[in-house]
């Protein structure tokens, strides 16, 4: 991973690829690399769909090795949804394959002069860029089947669906999984639209003839990996809860807490939660011949995903995740898990972010386009977006645009991006992260890595009112660091509770690169990444007034706790003071 693949889509004579040394970006991976490139190379005021924006696809620092959980791939650029910097990451096979091919990142630059679509094929033998307009408006599933027919089944694909081609702000970038299905997505922020603006429909990666990356200290690396895996397997969340029930194990619990946004964030509890919970999903998957315990990439030992079969026992989609089930379920008043699974499939095929589309449909329901609870109506709205009808063009551009188009005040977005599945009135702390993350409302922006392990920002008195502010800051720093390693964020549960597992992660990095990093160094990296991102956003025009939740969270009581969001603006402005 000592080289970058830069592809200039607006080069004279057609798109041109060049391989260059990684240079000033050496030692960076994942989110650290995407945010470094975007902050240094993209003019902050550039149009997200213009030729000056970049789309950066970067494997993690340990991708392409035998390290467990090292298969996240970051995608970065200036977001058409938020107007700020964006990193969104995904599982799937591409990260491992890209790293084994030796690339620290693929950087798409410029924009084709004509309205053509391109396929990029990358193998050990080089890079081939082919104009292929026959791919136009193919869904991700059909597209991958076509790539399989052309290149065999030892490939991994990074692609966009029709939504990306139409440059919709809710468009995702799809990654194929172990079964070569386009089920994993860098969903947030509309980066699929940026890929569409570059005219790139699909990047096909073939690592035939390559081998795993070799660590500096092989024995130490193996030992660290073993300790790391042992730590993940012995932790009740990564070793039991997630493998058995997937991420949607959270549904019942968040519902019980009264923090499960229902009917476009009107209530904190949904009557139909037991019908769409992770526990119910897992039982149905087993009964129908699916699989509730399945990894999204090779080397995953948590295996929080699964395979969903329809009522007739046929594959439909991967196991819908917690956020997806909430967005298309409770938030829209829908308790039909099969309808939700169908919407997951459609989102994947059209190339749409499930969170953004669920939030958008709920706003559309509030506007009266269809009734809350109308699963068929919700599915039809997704088809409108996927087909690009005039209504679909509005919906596919997200909740904020849809709210404006239909005159709806209650639109749950921050910096234009829809809130995920936790109501910040019940859980005030996550509201701080939603509001202040440079990414827009993002549940993964402040994930759980213990500050007392990372020692970010010193000791925090949790009883002080400002404790939530400091926790949110420190979590955002820690998350940026984990995202930069390219490790699945779900390792955070074990790392948080088990200092030896966190040490094993450090040992993995140190043994691979011949370093002597400490927790402080990882923290410093996280700080630096956040600093780059916030500086970019400031130059793009963001102010503290953008670090706010929508007004209705302060005004409307959320049953059952009848809570409003209480953290003062002045406190929120302190999140990044130190």
């Amino acid at each position: 991973m000592d080289k970058l693949l830069r592809i200039n889509m607006s080069a004279e004579g057609g798109p041109a690829a060049r391989t260059v040394p990684v240079g000033e970006y050496a030692g960076l991976g994942g989110r650290a690399l995407t945010s470094a490139v975007v902050s240094k190379e993209v003019p902050p005021l550039a149009h997200p769909l213009g030729e000056d924006n970049r789309l950066v696809i970067a494997p993690g620092m340990l991708s392409g090795t035998i390290a467990a959980m090292s298969g996240r791939c970051s995608v970065g650029g200036k977001s058409p949804l938020t107007g700020g910097i964006k990193e969104s990451n995904s599982g799937g096979q591409a990260s491992q394959v890209l790293a084994r091919l030796g690339y620290a990142a693929i950087i798409l630059e410029g924009r084709p002069k004509e309205n053509d679509l391109y396929k990029i094929f990358i193998s050990r033998d080089g890079v081939t860029i082919t104009r292929d307009n026959s791919l136009r408006m193919l869904g991700n599933y059909a597209l991958v089947e076509k790539m399989k027919a052309e290149h065999g089944d030892r490939i991994a694909c990074v692609s966009i669906g029709p939504a990306g081609e139409m440059k919709m702000c809710a468009a995702s970038v799809a990654f194929t999984d172990m079964e070569l299905r386009p089920t994993r997505h860098a969903g947030r922020g509309g980066l699929g639209a940026v890929m569409g603006s570059k005219g790139v429909k699909v990047i096909v990666l073939d690592d035939t003839g390559t081998s795993n990356r070799v660590p500096r200290d092989v024995e130490k690396f193996r030992a660290a990996n073993k300790a790391f895996v042992d730590g993940l397997r012995r932790h009740p969340v990564t070793g039991e809860g997630l493998p058995a029930f997937g991420t949607n194990i959270l549904a019942n619990v968040i519902n019980e807490a009264g923090a499960y946004p229902t009917h476009n964030f009107l209530w904190g509890r949904f009557d139909g939660t037991a019908k769409i919970s992770g526990e119910t999903e897992a039982e149905l998957e087993k009964a129908r011949g699916g699989n509730p315990t399945h990894g999204c990439h090779r080397g995953c030992v948590i295996r929080c995903s699964g395979i969903w079969h329809d009522k007739d026992g046929r594959y439909l989609t991967k196991q819908p995740e917690y956020e997806t089930v909430w967005a298309h379920g409770a938030n829209c008043g829908i308790d039909d898990i099969d309808a939700i699974a169908m919407m997951d499939r459609l989102d994947d095929d059209y190339g749409l972010d499930t969170i953004e589309m669920g939030a958008t449909i709920a706003v559309a329901m509030e506007a009266g386009l269809v009734q809350f609870g109308d699963a068929k109506g919700a599915i039809n709205l997704l088809h409108e977006a996927g087909k690009g009808t005039p209504l679909g063009r509005i919906l596919g551009n997200g909740a904020a645009v849809t709210g404006k188009a239909f005159g709806i005040e209650r639109v749950p977005v921050v910096k234009g991006q829809a809130l995920p599945a936790y109501d910040p009135r019940a859980i005030q702390g996550i509201g701080v992260t939603y509001a202040t993350s440079p990414m827009g409302a993002d549940h993964t922006a402040g994930y759980a890595v213990a500050t007392n392990i990372l020692k970010v920002g010193g000791y925090i008195d949790p009883l002080k009112p400002e404790g939530q502010i400091e926790l949110s800051r420190n979590l955002q720093i820690a998350t940026a660091a984990i995202d930069s390693t390219g490790m699945c964020l779900f390792i955070a549960f074990a790392v948080m509770d088990q200092p030896d597992t966190f040490q094993a992660l450090l040992d993995l990095l140190n043994a691979f690169y011949g370093l002597a990093m400490t927790g402080d160094d990882v923290t410093a990296l996280g700080r630096k990444v956040l600093q780059w991102e916030r500086e970019f956003n400031a130059k793009a025009g963001f102010t503290k007034e953008h670090d706010r939740l929508p007004e209705f969270f302060r005004k409307e009581l959320l049953p059952p706790h009848n809570a409003t969001f209480q953290v003062p603006d002045a406190e929120m402005d302190r999140v990044f003071d130190s």
């Binding site: 807490a257 929080c304 549940h443 500050t451």
Partner: protein
């Protein structure tokens, strides 16, 4: 095997099902079932005495606890009263899971909804000292606590029970002669025992455990009077 008994007010349905069918009843446990408890006791006492869990098991396996929708940090301080809703789960994933964990480092981030224990609502716990609470089980707690809870007997609303019975696989439905008697009832007591055999339904089934059974008259009085709860 089904055993349907009926008193004037609270019908009781006893079922014996193959081990692999116990999960059919988990939707009920996710929604919540009525469980008879001594009123006024802390959650910790109920877990130890009511469910028979050791301190070590509670520490390791019951890391997420809600009482009346509020996350509990100290299970020895949170008291059960008539109609309380108690939800039990293991450690949960994500930042939210970490926040909701009892006594967790991130608990301050949900301080606005944290359960403040120590006092019973006025009037709660009066009378003969027993009453019903609603118990919900999530995640691994379903498999770890569910079968014992079902065997001990749980009170279920008639509507959800009827829906469940209709959805049961055939090997669980065999012998459901008393089902009709339950229809239209506001609530019923359900006991589910696991057969020693697997996949063969009721043949050779164990009878529901006698432990915890009470005289119909006494149960009926407490159940009916207290169900509506103290909130």
């Amino acid at each position: 095997m089904a055993e349907s008994t009926r008193s004037d007010a609270v019908p009781t349905l006893g079922l014996t099902v193959p081990a692999e069918r116990v999960a059919c009843f988990f939707p009920l446990l996710q929604r919540g079932v009525g469980v008879r408890v001594r009123l006024g006791i802390p959650v910790g006492v109920f877990l130890r005495e009511g469910l028979g869990l050791s301190d070590a098991t509670i520490e390791a396996r019951i890391q997420t606890v809600f009482l009346d929708g509020r996350p509990v940090d100290d299970i020895e301080e949170a008291l059960l009263c008539e109609g309380s809703t108690l939800a039990l789960a293991p450690a949960m994933p994500g930042l939210m899971g970490a926040m909701l964990r009892r006594g967790g480092y991130y608990a301050p981030m949900r301080s606005g909804i944290t359960h403040r224990g120590g006092t019973l609502p006025q009037g709660a716990g009066e009378g003969e000292g027993e009453g019903f609470i609603i118990v919900k089980l999530f995640g691994a707690a379903l498999r770890e606590l569910g079968p014992a809870l079902l065997a001990r007997g749980v009170a279920v609303d008639g509507g959800p029970l009827a829906s469940l019975l209709e959805s049961l696989p055939e090997d669980c439905r065999r012998g459901l002669g008393g089902r009709a008697a339950l229809e239209g009832r506001e609530r019923a007591l359900l006991r589910v025992a696991v057969s020693g055999e697997t996949g063969r339904g009721s043949k050779g089934a164990n009878r529901p455990p006698r432990a915890g059974r009470r005289r119909p008259g006494r149960r009926r009085a407490g159940f009916r009077r207290r169900w509506r709860g103290c909130r």
